[in-house]
Every structure is written in C-alpha cells, then in structure tokens.
Subunit: 151 residues, 2 copies
C-alpha cells in the first residue's frame, strides 16, 4: 500500500502521514526500490488511532502518550484515564471561557439597535465607555482543537 492508499484508508492526509513520521509519532516506514513508503494494515490502524484521538481534541503530544500506552501491554488503565481527564479539564476550561465571551457578546448585541444609526453599545464597550458587563473570563489557554468530521 502506498501513502495515498494509506491516507485514503485512514483519513489522514499524505502530508500529515509524512509529518507524523518526521516528528517521530509513527515509525519510519519501509520503502520500496523506488523510494516509495509502504504501508500495511497495522500502520493504517495506528493512523486511524491518531485520527480518532485528534478528533477528540487531543494534541499530538497527548496522542503520542496514548499511542504508547496503547502499545504498552503493561499499561494501567489509570494512566490512560488520567490523560483523558486532564484533557476533559482543558476542554471544559476553554468552553467556559468561550461561554463567557458569548454571554457578554449576546448581551451587547441585544443592547445594540442593529439599525442604520451609528450609535452602538458594542463599540462603546470595546472602547471602554459604558462597561456594560465587566466580564471576568479566567486566564485560560484556549488552544488548538481543529477537528474535521469525526470518524
């Protein structure tokens, strides 16, 4: 199986497969005489694992950890659960932060006429005048999570 077929079968782009190999997330594949990478079902399975982890919002680093745990027969399910729960915490923090933004924005939008006149409470708020809702969003790192359609 060439990289194109592995890509097709796993849902991971050829570009990304090469990248994952480059950063050591997956082992360098064997090559045919023409220098083409060769993949088997085993490799596709790994790629799908990665794909699924990414779809659940795990970073590549977390994904690597999970991948190692998956391949480690002496793992404890507690170790896996820890990774998952840390990630859940991450997501929940980011969700809360964004919900705070939405709340403020909805309030401002509600107060805004949305008509032909220039007067606008949204801009007033941004400009620091009329601090309608002094929202207190926590200092949270709202990072990646770029997921495409999930598997």
């Amino acid at each position: 199986m060439n990289i194109g077929q592995a890509s097709e079968a796993s849902g991971v782009s050829a570009k990304m497969i090469r990248y994952y190999e480059e950063i050591g997330l997956i082992r360098p594949m064997g090559r045919t005489g023409n220098n083409y990478r060769v993949y088997g079902d085993e490799e596709v399975h790994v790629l799908r694992f990665i794909k699924r982890a990414r779809n659940l919002g795990f970073s590549l680093e977390e994904t690597e950890t999970l991948l190692k745990l998956w391949q480690d027969k002496d793992r404890t399910s507690a170790a896996v659960k820890d990774v998952a729960q840390a990630h859940i915490g991450d997501l929940e923090r980011r969700i809360a932060e964004m919900q705070g933004m939405v709340k403020t924005l909805k309030h401002l939008a509600h107060c805004c006429g949305g008509d032909h006149r220039p007067n606008c409470p949204i801009l007033d708020d941004l400009a620091g005048e009329a601090p309608a809702v002094p929202v207190k969003t926590a200092p949270v790192k709202t990072g990646p999570v770029k997921t495409g359609t999930s598997a």
Copy 2:
C-alpha cells in the same frame, strides 16, 4: 510616552504593539530623535480597544474591522452587530464541538476502571474497537481564542 509605558497603560505587550503596527492594524507611530516610538492617550485608547476585542475572542482581522467601524462616524450599528453575531456563531459552533468531545470522553472515562489493569475502553475506542459512542461532531473550525485575563 514610550512603548513600555503604552504597554503598561494598555495591557498590550510591547512586542504585540510593534507587531500590530507592522501588520497595519495601528498606524506607525511618530518617533523621537532617538528612534523611539512615541504614544499618546489616543493611541493607548486604541490599544485598549484592541485588547478588549481580543479578550472577547475576535480575531485580529475582525478587530481591524471593528476598529474601522469605531473610527467611522458614518457606520451603522447594524454593521457592528453583524460582526458580533458572526463571531457569536463561531464561538457557539466551537463550543458545541468541544462539548461533543467532552461528552464522549466523559462517557469513555466513566467506563474506564482507572485501575492497575491494562484493559481500557478509552484505548479500545481510539483503536476503533468497541465504538462505544459514535460521536458526530460537525466539521467546525475550532481556531484561535487564546485570551488572557480579560480587561
């Protein structure tokens, strides 16, 4: 006022102030004889506007739009509201996507013993076996939003 003081007064790092100037978000500042940028209250006000917009999750591009509307006396509040509502939609999509992830992850974590044994439904799910919850997250772009403490 030097860049350090403007930074202090606006909450925008000196690094970012220079960057905003470079990308044309703010006008190039005047310089003193020693080539230092000089800032006045006007500029600090603009920087705080940007800071606040960023805290509400607007991208720099959206922030630029808002900034222009703010400075345009012929704007309509409808135009501003449109930008805000598009952003609310964005945020809500991302929130929904992340909530889907959390839901799946919580279910998996719940099913996971979290003990010393290797058996783990989380890994089983990632590996494609036992597709416990075939979550259907929509293909949403869950991008930036990196906000620090809000103003």
